[in-house]
Amino acid sequence: MESKSVTKKGKVQTSQMTFGQKIWRNRTLLFMCLPAIVFFIAFSYAPLPGIWVAFVKYNYRDGIFGSKFVGMQNFEFLAQSGKLLQLTKNTILYNLAFIILGNLVAVVMAILLNEMQSKIFKKVSQTMMFLPYFISQVLVGLLVFNLLNYDTGFVNTILVKLGMEPWGPYSDKGVWPVLLVIIHLWQTTGYNSVVYFASICGIDEEIVEAARVDGANGWQKIWYIILPSLKPTVVILLLFALGGIVKGNFGLFYNVVGTNPLLYDTTDIIETYVYRATMTDFNFSTASAVGLYQSIIGFLMVMITNFIVKKIEPDYSLF
């Protein structure tokens, strides 16, 4: 059947076929994509019309499209109350810290791992560093609680033994920006350093040898060979991360901080607010208004960063 079309003659015919004929010839390939297409229609495209709920005053009886249309009222309320600004600020500041410090620490760890001579040490330490990536965010929440809670937490048992005052971070909103950044780094550094470690391993040994012969010391090797070779990877990964700057790490914040109103000022991000509005308050209109605001900003951020990536390194641009 289709095998004939591979011959020279068949190839000439391909260009003369109509679009419908081409698709008919690709019907098996189209069929192979069909389950995925159905999946994304059902779970990603089908919810899109529901965004309308952001523009109505939702009530259960009338449904999304029967409820009273209120225009931009849901957005105005969020903007005027200052909630939107606070959520955006928290989300972006946390992400900036995660991105910048996360990549910095990952690069440092990758360089240090590369310097290790003992293979077994390298392998064992890399395996240990990778462990936090494999566990659920629920467990992360429990691990942190074990360390920090007031009554039985590990930190407080040490402080008390040393005759110091116990510490209660779960009622101290000021410390969470630092704590959350540390927890995030703890969970992601093993994962993030893999990419940089791979780039370092890809450096041509001859360049390093040549530098050695010319008398370069260890610091110079890192500064003049390793770091410059990592620069493109760092820039690309930073830019892509910036594309997701308004998307928060819901699992981390929800499991570590939980629903603790004492800490909302410094720990409430867009995702946690939307989750509570949906699941606790059933305030679908407000939740959707915040969600739509986030989706639009997020979309613009990806477009902008992709545009920049395309300018500096066309091979890496997403589209």
Partner: protein, 308 residues
């Protein structure tokens, strides 16, 4: 592809004479790496230590790195409660079914979308990729799942949304890219159809990709708690392991359910050590398995990072 294999066993630079600066860097490296690696496993040791510590000691002295008043009571109660085994069975079924279905679809799609002669490849690729650029958000998704699909309290609400993601399909495409198109062409010349070419010629060559992506999927199912928290209400008693852990940690009622009537008053329930024992049981299989499969994840991260 060839490079990723020896990534985690990479040799350590040339054997040239070592200067003072190298020794300093190496020294710093060993110290920092050791401390960091220990910090990564330290919180796990506390969970394990505390799970074997008697409740009175936890309440009076706090959590323990090394068990004191060694007891298996928490484990006995969780095991006797029976709920954890049901959670295990549910989680294993979800993981096996979800990974098998998801992986099959991702592999087929990834192959078809990498075929140069498929006229719709760019259109469909963008159709899938667009879903990661713009999302409806949680509230419309929740309303659709519960009111249109009626998936509230259904395990399908957990199984289906985790089947695939644009990122995993792109990852598969990147793996397929390394297989020369000539393989497909040779199949065509032999008269094989596209499906036959895929199953007989391409799939065997995709083994590393299937392992990597299958493990990403399986990890997603094993660690799933989010969809469960959205769609499985308190009406559902048997929930996936991690959501069960979430409930045991955060809800007193669930803690009581997990040990099914083995207490007289709540004050007698060893709540803290129970949480730890549940955490150890829910996470144990992952911690035991991951050192053996981590190379596949490393392969996936490096292949995926090149083009996201």
């Amino acid at each position: 592809m060839a490079k990723k294999k020896d990534l985690d066993l990479q040799s350590s630079g040339p054997k040239v004479k070592i200067g003072t600066s190298d020794k300093i860097i190496r020294g710093i490296g060993y110290v920092v790496t050791t401390f960091y690696a220990l910090a990564c496993i330290f919180p796990f040791l506390i969970i394990i230590g505390t799970s074997f510590t008697s409740e009175e000691i936890i309440r009076s002295e706090g959590v323990k790195l090394i068990p004191e008043g060694f007891t298996l009571k928490a484990y006995e109660m969780v095991v006797a409660g029976g709920l954890i085994w049901k959670s295990y069975v549910l989680t294993i079924i979800l993981t096996l079914v979800g990974t098998t279905i998801g992986l099959s679809i991702i592999a087929m799609t990834g192959y078809a979308l990498q075929r140069k002669d498929f006229v719709l490849r760019n259109g469909i690729s963008f159709f899938i990729y667009f879903t990661s650029l713009f999302q409806a958000g949680l509230a419309p998704y929740y309303l659709l799942m519960t009111q249109t699909y009626h998936l509230k309290d259904s395990y399908f609400a957990v199984l289906l949304p985790l089947l695939m993601s644009p990122w995993l399909i792109i990852l598969m495409k990147n793996f397929v890219k390394s297989i020369p198109f000539e393989i497909t062409e040779s199949g065509k010349i032999d008269g094989a159809g596209d499906m036959k070419i895929f199953t007989a010629l391409i799939l065997p060559m995709l083994k590393p990709a299937l392992a990597t992506i299958g493990l990403f999927l399986a990890l997603g199912y094993w660690n799933e708690w989010y969809q469960s928290s959205l769609f499985l209400s308190s009406q559902v008693t048997v929930v996936p392991l991690q959501y069960n852990l979430y409930k045991v940690v955060n809800e007193v009622q669930s803690l009581k359910n997990s040990i099914a009537g083995q207490y007289i008053s709540l004050a007698d329930v060893p709540t803290e050590s129970l949480k730890m024992a549940t955490a150890v049981l829910a996470t144990g299989p992952i911690v035991l398995l991951y050192p053996f499969v981590q190379k596949y994840f490393i392969g996936g991260i490096t292949v995926g990072a090149v083009k996201g």
